[in-house]
Amino acid sequence: MIGYLLPHRLVNPHNLPVLLALLLLLASVWMLPVDIAQPVHDIQVTFDISQSMNVEDVAFENSIASRLSLSKAAARALLSSLSCGSRVGWGVFAGHRVITLITPLEVCSHYAGLLASLDEIDGRMRWVEASSVGKGLHQGMRAAQTIGDGVSLVFISDGHEAPPLRQGQRGMPDTRRFNMDGLVVGVGGDTPAPIPRTDDAGRLVGFWHADDVVQRPNAPAGQSHEELSRLHRDHLLRLAQLANLTYVELDSVQAIARAIEDAGFSNTKSVPLDLRWLPACLALLALCWRFSPFSRT
């Protein structure tokens, strides 16, 4: 018995789908990852960790949670929603300072580390019992600017200023020299609620009373209730306008992830994508065509 390879039968129309599949499979075996421009984000997320963020007045997973835990859950959701190549960092704000904890790291290769670091963020880090939201936002922008170009800021706060601002004060230095995109995220309920008081170890030791906190100056007697806290939407909205940022309300865990996607302030970066599946899929189709009992070729 002897075998001949017949060239005219190799390239006959009947054999074409198989040859096509062969070429496509060659491509999928030797294809290198393709650099494709993808929208990625560099985001510095800064959390307000002042005491009012411990108020439990927001809905999360069918129960009531503190503002800070909802904020952290939203940051987690953001982390898992970003495409590979995006970078995220953390910072915290209290008093009138922002401390940058982690400069942005790539989200896919450092996912576990970023989550572990996020878990550590809580009220025990608070180095001072005050909260000047405007100054915090200003510092947050400055930190993001220092980290690098194209880094956008996500600043999460309830807008509760302690000590309170005077009438007409905006409490924020000029931010015109910062040129960046970002979100001011408001978190908290609309009903004024008592602020939990915690000790160094983060244990609840009661609530702040009217005599413990600085009340609004020039307010009529009994009218100032700075010991209670709610979401100061107007204040945050105004700060966001002044700083040229977008205001978003944290009404669901996905709110930040969605706002980032909608806002469109992404950078484009070439991300290597493995596209082997594409020629392999086409090869599969070609072979199915060849073996299908309905094809006439």
């Binding site: 018995m1 060239p7 190799l10 062969l22 499979l25 300072r97 572990a116 160094d200 392999a280």
Partner: protein, 332 residues
């Protein structure tokens, strides 16, 4: 080794498609009314069966490859050398001041000035690069402990934390005791896999109350932690802790802290860092002290087998194409 799994197992539902070659096709039928008249052709029959089998394998391998089989990321336990080092770094505003340098000697170039924080970051980054097997945690402190990075295998996380410590200014006051407790608690609940150390970097001392002293002492002992204190001199008048004995007059905060540490049951060393060079020397020495056997985990990224599947499919496909174009002749 973990079992093989599929990244997109849903695609395995397409596997029945691999049976397509078994179906009889109209164009394969021969223009004979009754094939019983044809002579028996065992070789042809065998070839047909082979052809069907190979065609099925081709389809099957492509579908398998598309479902992306692989072994998921794992961690392999290895024994190396190194330590679990918890870095506890002063993040008060005094650390932003420039590090003291001795006046240049005659004929020497004055060296560029550098902030204490800068010098600390540079040398600690060196330590991170030096021993990727080490596990690091990073805690900053001013009036409160700021837990930046818990122990993890991700050195880049600690590096990002160090980089971040350069941005903005810290507050003026410090509470080193709480910082120490936070660093000690970071070891809680971790199994003992190698030597443990806290690397305290500060330019000042602290007065600790009795309660905190007791907690620190117990915590260090319980978790078997060595303590290294890199003391950065703030001014020429700062005491030289390396020269101070354990029973010195403790009216200065730094000396008081040093004496407390030195009288602990745990291993303790102080390193006086007058300038960036002596700081680097201190870090090198700590690195050598902590070069003990350590169980560590090496991350093995996911191994993907889809390319292997496509190669198998390709080989089958070449065979198919060749078989169709082959003519067999019986030698006379």
């Amino acid at each position: 080794m973990p079992p093989v799994d599929f990244a997109i197992p849903q695609l395995l539902a397409l596997l029945p498609m691999a049976l397509l070659p078994l179906l009889r096709r109209r164009r394969d039928s021969l223009p004979f009314p009754w094939i019983g008249w044809l002579p028996r052709d065992p070789v042809g029959r065998l070839l047909h069966l082979t052809w069907q089998l190979i065609a099925m394998l081709t389809l099957g391998f492509i579908i398998l490859g598309l479902a992306m089989p692989g072994r998921s990321e794992t961690r392999i336990e290895r024994i190396g050398r190194g330590a679990e080092i918890s870095i506890l770094m002063d993040r008060s505003s005094s650390m932003d001041a420039t590090i003291r340098r001795n006046a240049p000697k005659l004929g020497e170039q004055a060296q560029p000035s550098q902030s204490k924080n800068d010098a600390v970051r540079k040398t600690l980054s060196w330590l991170l690069d030096q021993r990727p097997q080490n596990r690091f945690a990073l805690t900053l402190f001013n009036t409160a402990p700021i837990r930046v990075a818990p122990f993890s295998d991700d050195v880049a996380l600690v590096q990002a934390g160090l980089n971040a410590s350069d941005i903005g200014r810290g507050s003026n006051e410090t509470n080193m005791g709480l910082g120490l407790m936070a660093a000690i608690d970071g070891f809680n609940g971790r199994s003992y896999t190698g030597s443990r150390a806290i690397l305290l970097v500060s330019d000042g001392g602290a007065r600790l109350d009795d309660d905190l002293r007791l907690r620190i002492q117990r915590g260090l002992k319980r978790n078997r932690i060595s303590l290294y204190f890199i003391y950065i001199q703030s001014s020429p008048n700062s005491p030289n802790l390396e020269l101070v004995g354990t029973d010195a007059d403790a009216s200065l905060e730094e000396v008081a802290l040093h004496v407390f540490f030195a009288n602990l049951d745990s291993e303790y060393r102080v390193f006086q860092a007058d300038d960036p060079e002596s700081m680097a020397a201190a870090i090198v020495e700590i690195d050598q002290l902590q070069n003990l056997p350590l169980t560590y985990y090496e991350r093995v990224p996911r191994v993907d087998y889809s390319r292997a599947c496509f190669i198998a499919a390709l080989s089958c496909c070449i065979f198919l194409a060749g078989l169709t174009a082959t003519r067999l002749e019986r030698l006379a």
